[in-house]
């Protein structure tokens, strides 16, 4: 099984801002896509969903695949609907200013390191 990565370490790595604290404090893998159907094909569990889409459907998709957290990149404005749905579903919601590719680059050592 993949190792646990604490969400607090994720927040530090991408200089993120926590918009909602969910039920879990860790993830084991990152799935990144702007296409929700793509996310729904993943077999991984306890994931961090990294995306630049900020609609409520991102949160619904995360919930369907049992994601523990969502990281919304590119500093896009996030509606209160998106935040309140994450809160309702117990999913951690983090936003960061950097683009998706850069966020992935900064997160990689946490997941692939020793």
């Amino acid at each position: 099984m993949r190792k646990k990565v604490l969400l607090s370490d994720v927040v530090t790595a991408v200089k993120g801002r926590v918009l909602n604290n969910g039920d879990a404090d860790y993830v084991r893998w990152v799935v990144s896509s702007g296409l929700m159907s793509d996310v729904l094909t993943t077999e991984e569990e306890e994931i961090l969903l990294l995306s630049s889409l900020t609609t409520t459907q991102v949160v619904r998709t995360a919930d369907m695949v049992g994601a523990h957290a969502i990281l919304l990149a590119c500093g896009k404005p996030i509606s209160s609907d998106t935040v309140s749905l994450a809160s309702e579903l117990g999913i951690t919601l983090i936003s960061c200013e950097i683009p998706v590719f850069e966020a992935g680059h900064l997160l990689a050592p946490l997941f692939f390191g020793d």
């Binding site: 296409l35 159907s37 729904l40 409520t56 459907q57 991102v58 998709t61 369907m64 579903l89």
Partner: protein
């Protein structure tokens, strides 16, 4: 030419949904009319009535002699009185006495036809003893029809949730999906997920069922005119069915192919419409069926076995 009240004109009647017709035949004038009113007697002056009209923002006052309707004073009568200089005089000599009245037991359809036939916006209402009982305005008619339609829609919506008869060891849930309701799409799937959790279905199965239900729900919301999604949970399987009201799929074989989509940029910008919805649903299903007819609608059915089989791994 603009129609005034097209509901009951000869050539439009057969285009009106039968429920609307039924409502305006079922409702009586007395169900819609106003009964709390200002009335006058013949001895009142136009000035007195004008004051009542202005203070209460009304445009017509019936004139009674005991309970008998003897006339009506409208805004145009007041204007005439001002014009001709008899505003301070009793109304008896000048008020409209040729009255078109409705009876309280008439169906509302009758009143609607009166609005087509006569230029008036309000009709006095009498009972079968010829006593004055109320006034019916166009606003009263609209309010009554809208209220009744709301009641009917409530009844229909409740039927949709409850008219499925559950067999023993079977749980059925049904939800309406509205076209382009992107905010709410996914709610039904969320409820399915919750139900399966309560029933202690395994995590892997819940995930597959959630993905199937969610993709199917999104498909109805973005591609159809709206429809419904039904979940049937049985001892050894969960069946998910979506039924929509159109427009249907011209080439089903093509629609099942991964990457084929008719979605527009707006849908794509929301993270869907890449032609993966149907293939995704099929991938997580143990049984999958899609039936569609252009101009009619599409039925998609996904069955997922609760026991993991080798084929579904």
């Amino acid at each position: 030419m603009p129609h005034r009240f097209p509901i009951l004109s000869e050539d439009s009647a057969d285009k009106v949904p039968s429920l609307t017709m039924e409502i305006i035949f079922r409702l009586k004038v007395k169900d819609a009319m106003m009964t709390s009113l200002w009335t006058a007697t013949k001895k009142h002056t136009f000035r007195e009535i004008q004051t009542v009209m202005r203070d209460n923002e009304i445009s017509g006052v019936p004139v009674l002699d005991d309970n008998r309707l003897v006339g009506i004073v409208s805004v145009s009568d007041i204007i005439n009185a001002l014009d001709s200089g008899h505003i301070e005089e009793p109304i008896e000599a000048y008020m409209s006495k040729q009255l078109i009245v409705l009876e309280d037991d008439m169906p509302l359809s009758f009143a609607v036809s009166y609005y087509n036939k006569y230029p008036y916006r309000r009709f006095p209402v009498i009972n079968k003893n010829k006593e004055f009982v109320g006034i019916l305005t166009t606003k009263d008619v609209l309010t009554a029809i809208l209220n009744e339609m709301n009641n009917e829609i409530n009844i229909l919506e409740n039927q949709l949730h409850h008219d499925k008869v559950e067999l023993p060891n079977q749980i059925i849930r049904e939800y309406i999906i509205k076209q382009f309701d992107f905010e709410k799409a996914g709610q039904a799937s969320f409820k399915l997920k919750k139900l399966l959790k309560e029933k202690e279905v395994s995590r892997k199965i819940i995930r597959r069922a959630s993905v199937a239900a969610y993709e199917m729900e999104i498909n109805v919301a973005i591609h159809s005119n709206g429809g419904k999604i039904t979940f049937v949970l049985e001892k050894d399987s969960i069946t998910i069915i979506t039924k929509d009201t159109g427009p249907g799929i011209a080439d089903v074989a093509q629609a099942i192919e991964e990457g084929y989509s008719t979605a527009n940029d707006w849908i794509r910008s929301l993270g869907f419409g890449a032609g993966m919805g149907i293939p995704n649903t099929k991938r997580v299903s143990d049984e999958f069926k899609i039936e569609s007819e252009p101009g009619k609608g599409t039925i998609v059915k996904s069955v997922i076995y609760l026991e993991e089989t080798d084929e579904s791994q």
